[in-house]
């Protein structure tokens, strides 16, 4: 579906000179510096995948997505979407992709949703039968009929996003870009949107690239994640893999029968202590939970315990920060 090889995008930026005279000189002769927004990235996404695309702000996410959409021309490298080169065949490519931007709606602001959908139907030349079929689908899955006659500006955020989803999928694109679609949405609406995303991915085999800062979205919805930072892909693999590779740390949460003084165990560090509960962090390759439990219970009687998986968020943060050790264990 998507094939990206050694993709690079560089921007030229005017170098700001200091001081008054510096500014004046810039007026007459500006000097430029080259900034690589995307630096030699390569990946491949097959049809039907649901990929989470994450990275800190300014990492190169929107730049790479713009190139996939054909809006931006790469500086070098190869990029192919379903057999087309996006920037070379922009219009043709637009027919096979759809996009939802959380920050900005595609719909016309002051007119009822259905008017926008009608216009999109005609712009994308969607056959009438397909159009009707999709509207029914959206009525079922998104309750579109509840607000289709309302102007977009009067919709709640959740409704607006649902309308944007309908608009993006109206022409049955093979590839869907979701750019932070759930910012500011309440938990109930989020759950609903997540289900919708999974459903169309499953039933219609729509390939989806989801950009988000919310790790819960990733954990619940995506099978694979790509992490981009400073223009490089620093991780590309499944969630399970990332936990195995990077999340060596587990936490053992022990609740004692009564409050006990803090203590340490060999191979386990006490990271938190609250009332009768204590959190121990251990490296699962070095210690097994049962050994740890046995040791701890021999000291004090245990009331309850749990083993916590490493949080994706923590792992990702570590990767962003480029920490050696954990992050470099098995290579990317």
């Amino acid at each position: 579906m998507i094939q990206v090889e050694h993709l690079t995008k560089e921007y030229k930026r005017v170098i700001r000179r200091e001081g008054f005279l510096g500014s004046v000189r810039t007026l007459f002769s500006a000097q430029y510096e080259t900034i690589p927004a995307v630096n030699d990235i390569s990946f491949r996404i097959d049809e039907g995948e649901l990929v989470g695309y994450i990275g800190p702000n300014g990492a190169g996410k929107s730049t790479s997505i713009k190139m996939l959409c054909g809006i931006l021309v790469p500086t070098s490298g190869r990029i192919e979407v379903n057999g087309l080169i996006p920037h070379k065949e922009r219009m043709k490519n637009t027919r096979q992709i759809g996009a939802v931007f959380g920050q900005k709606t595609q719909l016309w602001w002051d007119v009822p949703v259905i008017e926008s959908l009608r216009l999109f139907r005609d712009i994308y030349k969607v056959p009438e039968a397909q159009y009707k079929h999709n509207l029914n689908l959206f009525n079922d899955l998104l309750d579109l009929h509840e607000f289709q006659n309302t102007p977009v500006r009067q919709l709640s955020l959740g409704q607006r996003l649902r309308a944007d989803m309908a608009a993006a999928l109206l022409h049955n694109p093979r590839l869907l870009f979701l750019d932070e679609p759930m910012i500011g949405v309440d938990v109930v609406a989020k759950e609903r949107l997540r289900n919708f995303i999974q459903e169309i991915n499953r039933d219609q085999k729509v390939t989806i690239l989801l950009t988000t800062h919310d790790m819960v979205d990733i954990e619940k919805v995506c099978s694979r994640i790509m992490i981009i930072d400073h223009g490089h892909i620093v991780y590309d693999g499944s969630l399970a893999q990332i936990r195995n590779q990077y999340g060596k740390q587990r936490k053992l949460v022990v609740e004692f029968e009564e409050a006990v003084p803090d203590f340490s165990e060999p191979n386990a560090a006490l990271v938190k202590s609250e009332g009768r509960k204590k959190w121990f962090a251990f490296n699962r390759f070095e210690t097994s939970p049962s050994t740890l439990i046995a040791n701890i219970s021999s000291r004090y009687p245990i009331l309850d315990l749990a083993v916590e998986e490493p949080e994706i968020e923590e792992i990702v943060r570590t990767i962003y920060q480029g920490k050696p050790g954990n992050a470099r264990e098995n290579g990317t």
Binding site: F20, S23, V24, T26, L27, A30
Partner: protein
């Protein structure tokens, strides 16, 4: 004060990035100075007595009015405000521990200062060398001109600020801005000196704040206003400045409260 300078400096530097914009404005000013000279010559030869001034004075008036053009509408405060509210970024501005009005003034002034040194002073020089712009009537008049111009600048800023605030309520900046610009061009005396206005229109023009931007400073420079008349004119400028500052602050405070309560 330091904050003021910080914003001013930031605005100052950002202009240099927009080189094309800069050169476009510079060439336009030159073309306009050239054109207006011809207009005045044509009008003057038609009927020399109409102006109550010499041709040299009128040419100076006209050419100088084009040169100082860029002192105003520097930053487009009204557009900035409209854009910030539409994109929601206004919240960021409001969260700063800084008075919004003051903040805008600082940004605007930064740009204005840059334009002053880079565009306006060179334009005046060109006007003098090529287009018949004469030196001020007296050195004192030159100084008074600078003062009146500065006050005029402040009046212009507050008019734009007020405009921006109003546009936030009505949501459409463009028609209002067009109307405002039309009124400004008319009543400011930039294109047609307001003493040419017939009867009641002339009286109206002399009372409105718009003349503070062009007519007053330009008349002082060319010596068409002197002595007591200057004091009256500048007094009117100051009156309007005070009124506009108060009005701006009052209006803006109300809008700010509204924005905050509605969440943008």
């Amino acid at each position: 004060m330091k904050v003021f300078l910080a914003f001013a400096r930031q605005s100052f530097h950002s202009i240099a990035i927009y080189r094309f914009d800069f050169w476009l404005r510079v060439s336009t000013v030159l073309i306009l100075m050239y054109s207006i000279r011809w207009v005045w010559v044509a009008l003057y030869t038609q009927r020399p007595g109409a102006f109550g001034a010499s041709l040299e004075q009128m040419i100076t008036y006209g050419v100088l009015s084009m040169a100082i053009e860029n002192l105003f509408y520097s930053f487009g405060v009204q557009y900035y405000m409209s854009q910030q509210v539409r994109s929601g970024a206004i919240d960021v501005d409001l969260l700063k521990p800084l008075d919004f009005h003051f903040h805008m003034l600082a940004r605007n002034t930064g740009q204005m200062l840059f334009r002053l040194f880079i565009m306006i002073l060179p334009a005046i020089l060109c006007g003098y060398l090529f287009f018949g712009l004469r030196p001020p009537a007296t050195p004192l008049a030159g100084f008074q001109f600078a003062l009146a111009l500065f006050i005029g600048y402040l009046v212009g800023f507050h008019l734009e600020f007020l405009l921006g605030s109003i546009a936030l309520v009505t949501l459409d900046i463009h028609s209002i801005d067009w109307a405002f610009n039309a009124l400004l061009r008319f009543f400011s005396g930039q294109l047609v000196p307001i003493w040419l206005f017939p009867g009641p229109l002339g009286t109206l023009a002399s009372l409105l704040p718009f003349r503070a931007l062009f007519a007053t400073p330009l008349s002082i420079y060319t010596g068409l206003l002197n002595g007591e008349a200057i004091i009256n004119a500048v007094g009117l400028q100051l009156f309007w400045l005070a009124a506009l500052v108060l009005l701006s602050r009052w209006f803006w405070n109300r809008i700010q409260a509204r924005i905050i309560s509605q969440g943008g």
